[in-house]
Symmetry: C2
Subunit: 124 residues, 2 copies
């Protein structure tokens, strides 16, 4: 399996700048940087879950923009540890913030966090 064939070094490995590429079209603008794509993917991964989207929606639907875990266990058909897990993911991604008062934990949407992702995604 090692070296089955020598690499075709004639044309493929040659860096373009030659217009002889038949299948390619010129670039109009630069594409996003790899690390930029990595950061955006991390944010999107935190949002790409039905339970987490509903959590954000439920929290932001409250008048004072905050809800406790009991509000979520009531509406979502998920166990309490699972909801805590999703909350942790959203907090670590910067979409929610936690405020503990007494025995209750109140979660609220970080202002502008969603719009920031929306803005970045708009010009990908």
């Amino acid at each position: 399996m090692s070296v089955t064939q020598t690499l075709p070094l004639t044309d493929i490995s040659r860096r373009s700048t030659d217009e002889a590429d038949a299948c390619s079209s010129p670039l109009a603008r630069a594409s996003i940087a790899p690390d930029h794509a990595d950061a955006l993917a991390r944010s999107l991964k935190a949002l790409a879950d039905p339970a987490r989207l509903r959590i954000i929606s439920i929290v932001s639907a409250h008048t004072d923009q905050e809800a406790c875990v009991c509000d979520l266990t009531d509406q979502l058909t998920l166990s309490q540890p699972t909801i805590s897990h999703h909350l942790k993911v959203l907090v670590e991604a910067g979409f929610l913030s936690r405020a503990k008062r007494g025995t209750w934990s109140y979660y609220s949407v970080v202002p502008g966090s969603l719009n920031s992702v929306v803005g970045v995604l708009a010009d990908v």
Copy 2:
């Protein structure tokens, strides 16, 4: 922030069926429906990958809004089957469309597909 104000204890003993739960706040508006969250999560899952974000960016950076696979294998440090896999995910999610001409496959961004997700995400 270490306020930890004492809670209004007068109402805690009264269990639910009363609309005023101690830890809960009233709703200002409705939250998204579960199937709506499911659909949005599927779209976001297709975007939540660094390679796929870069693919969309590279394709849309071309002047005619289309690029062939060779353009992608050149810029991404991934094998050709892996790139084909990501392209398939993006096509099935509705973000890219495929046009085969000769031996080459040209991929282009479906107009409005990204903005649609952005718009839905904006009012979650």
